[in-house]
Structure formats: structure tokens, C-alpha cells
């Protein structure tokens, strides 16, 4: 029997900060999420193209679209906030043009 649509639409394990379970084990693995977006002053032609498509599809209520990147990291042991911030700011984002948001597991 196919899974209900709502279930299939759920984000896969690890798409949100929290805890993931590695396949075949019961050990929870910390999941860290990093979101990267262009700084407000840097124009985003990809986001503008998406906005244009929305208008053509009749979705006139959206005023602006900014496109970014979403990284999901499974880490070993307790997440080291300082090290993860370094990873986010020195590799995952280019600080010249991008802002970065780090989301650590809360519990």
C-alpha cells in the first residue's frame, strides 16, 4: 500500500536541525543545518527569474524571491559550535557576497 501523500511530502531525515538516526543503528546523530543567502545588496538574478515565473503562473502576491543554499551536516559527537561556525563562514559561504545562518540541534 503506498504511503499517504502527506507522509511522502515530509522532509527526509536530517533536513532540519535536530537528531538523525544512522541506518542500521539506534545511535542518534546530531544534525546541523546551515543556510546561505546572498547579502541584501547583491542582486539575485536567479531569484528574480523565479519571481518572474511566479507572476506568469498567476501568483501575483509574491513580492520578492531570494534564492539560497541549504546544507545538512551530520556530525560526530557533540557539535562544536565554534568549529561549525568556521566551516559555515569559511567554506560553505563566501563572506564577500553571502550571509550565513547556523542552526544547531537545540535539545
Amino acid at each position: 500500500m503506498p504511503r499517504p501523500v502527506a507522509d511522502r511530502l515530509r522532509p527526509p531525515d536530517g533536513a532540519r536541525p535536530g537528531w538523525s538516526r544512522r541506518a542500521g543503528t539506534l545511535t542518534p546523530v546530531p544534525v546541523v543545518v546551515v543556510d546561505v543567502v546572498l547579502k541584501p545588496e547583491i542582486s539575485d538574478p536567479q531569484g528574480q527569474a523565479v519571481l518572474g515565473a511566479l507572476g506568469r503562473l498567476g501568483h501575483s502576491g509574491v513580492r520578492s524571491v531570494r534564492q539560497g543554499k541549504h546544507f545538512v551536516l551530520e556530525v560526530e559527537g557533540t557539535p562544536d559550535a565554534a568549529e561549525l561556525r568556521e566551516i559555515a563562514e569559511t567554506l560553505l559561504a563566501n563572506p564577500v557576497i553571502e550571509d550565513v545562518e547556523l542552526h544547531l540541534p537545540t535539545d
Binding site: L38, K39, E41, I42, S43, P45, Q46, A49, L91, L92, N94, V96, I97
Partner: protein
């Protein structure tokens, strides 16, 4: 005179760059991104292409490859480095040049012969030109839009760090000068000491009448040979 050309996984124009070095009178030396060996070269060219598939950001992963640590250290003591297209993106990602290259404002890959005005004829890579000289070399990129914060652009202009700027190839034709929406028509910039230069257009594709729109590109490679002789 040994000029290194780095090959990254996904480099496309390393062979053309090596050929340009040879036509200019230098000895091209192949360098591999995964080595820690600059092979005693006296200058380095980072060629065009799509290093590491341009995953993450164009040039981002190549900028953290083993050989780049050696390039960054050597550039700190005056090694001339030229980044062309993807090589320019790598140099910006490596922090050797200011600013960043992002998606073209019109979202199209732009491939055409391009007019450039040489703004600095006193860097290690542009001394064969005269200031204000207009040249034509091919441009081909999808993520070539040069950006930086306005304050940083003002500072770069004030310090004379813009090396080449886009100009119309055929004035009056209606073809805009700027192929990708780059801030202030900037096509290439240099480091404070004038030894590291990056540009999006491809001088190595304009070194022979048979295949290029001009032989203007040769000047970048003869410049570095002249600067090395002068230093010797």
C-alpha cells in the same frame, strides 16, 4: 623562463594557456592541483574551465586544493599569478584578489569577442600594453559578474586596482559593452602589489590570427616574461 599552468579536475583551457606561454617565448610547466610542488616556476597561470564542477561556488573548492596553499604562500612573496575566468574565480575564493564572481545578471552563458580597455599597464601581466589601450579577446562565462560592496568598489577604484574594463567591441552596433552585468564594467583586478591579476575574458584564446579575433591576448604572457627578465 618557466611559467606554471595549473590543472584542476575540470580545467578546460590549461592546454591553450600553456600554448600561449610558449608562443610568447616562455617554457610552460604543467602543475597538478593535488601536489604540493610548484616545480620552481617563476610565475603561475590558473586557467579557465569548471574546476571541481564549480560545485558549491565557482572556484570555491579549487581554491582550497593542496597546490593553492603553495600558490598563496608564494604570491605573498611576489610570485606573479594570473587567473583567467575560472582561474579568476579561484583567486577571489582564495582571498588573493578582492570581490567575487556571481551568476550573470541575464542568467545566460555569454560567449563572444569582447572589447577591453587596459586601465593598468604597470602590473606584472599588463606591461606590454599602454594605459587606455583597447584590445579584443574572447569572453565566455556564465558566472562572470564581478561584485563587491560599493564601499569596497570605491576603495578598489581609488587604489587603481581595476586592470581591465569592458568596452563595446563595435561602437554603435547596439551590443552593450558589459557582457555579464559586472559592477562598473570591471573585467579584471589586481592585488595591491600588481603581481596577482585576475580577469574573466580569455587572453589565451587570442594569440594567433588563425583561431583568435586578434593576437592581443599575447600581451599578458609577454608582459610577465618581460617583468621576470627585469627582475633577474
Amino acid at each position: 623562463m618557466r611559467i606554471g599552468v595549473i590543472t584542476f579536475p575540470g580545467s578546460l583551457d590549461d592546454v591553450d594557456a600553456a600554448r600561449a606561454v610558449r608562443l610568447a617565448g616562455g617554457e610552460p610547466v604543467s602543475l597538478w592541483h593535488g601536489d604540493h610542488d610548484l616545480k620552481d616556476v617563476e610565475a603561475v597561470v590558473l586557467p579557465g574551465g569548471f574546476s571541481y564542477g564549480d560545485y558549491l561556488r565557482a572556484g570555491a573548492i579549487a581554491a582550497r586544493s593542496p597546490l593553492m596553499a603553495d600558490v598563496i604562500a608564494a604570491a605573498g612573496t611576489g610570485l606573479p599569478v594570473l587567473g583567467i575566468c575560472n582561474g579568476f574565480q579561484v583567486l577571489c575564493e582564495a582571498g588573493l584578489l578582492p570581490g567575487a564572481l556571481t551568476r550573470n545578471s541575464h542568467l545566460h552563458f555569454r560567449n563572444r569577442d569582447q572589447g577591453l580597455r587596459v586601465e593598468r599597464a604597470d602590473t606584472a601581466w599588463t606591461s606590454s600594453f599602454t594605459r587606455g589601450q583597447e584590445i579584443v579577446v574572447p569572453v565566455k562565462n556564465g558566472e562572470g559578474r564581478y561584485v563587491a560592496a560599493d564601499a569596497d568598489l570605491d576603495r578598489l577604484e581609488g587604489e587603481g586596482r581595476v586592470v581591465v574594463r569592458y568596452v563595446s567591441t563595435t561602437p554603435g552596433s547596439g551590443v552593450g559593452a558589459n557582457p555579464n552585468g559586472s559592477s562598473r564594467d570591471i573585467a579584471g583586478v589586481t592585488s595591491a602589489d600588481g603581481r596577482v591579476v585576475g580577469l574573466m575574458p580569455h587572453p589565451e584564446h587570442a594569440v594567433e590570427d588563425l583561431t583568435g579575433p586578434s593576437t592581443d591576448g599575447l600581451g599578458f604572457f609577454t608582459s610577465v616574461l618581460t617583468s621576470l627578465v627585469g627582475a633577474a
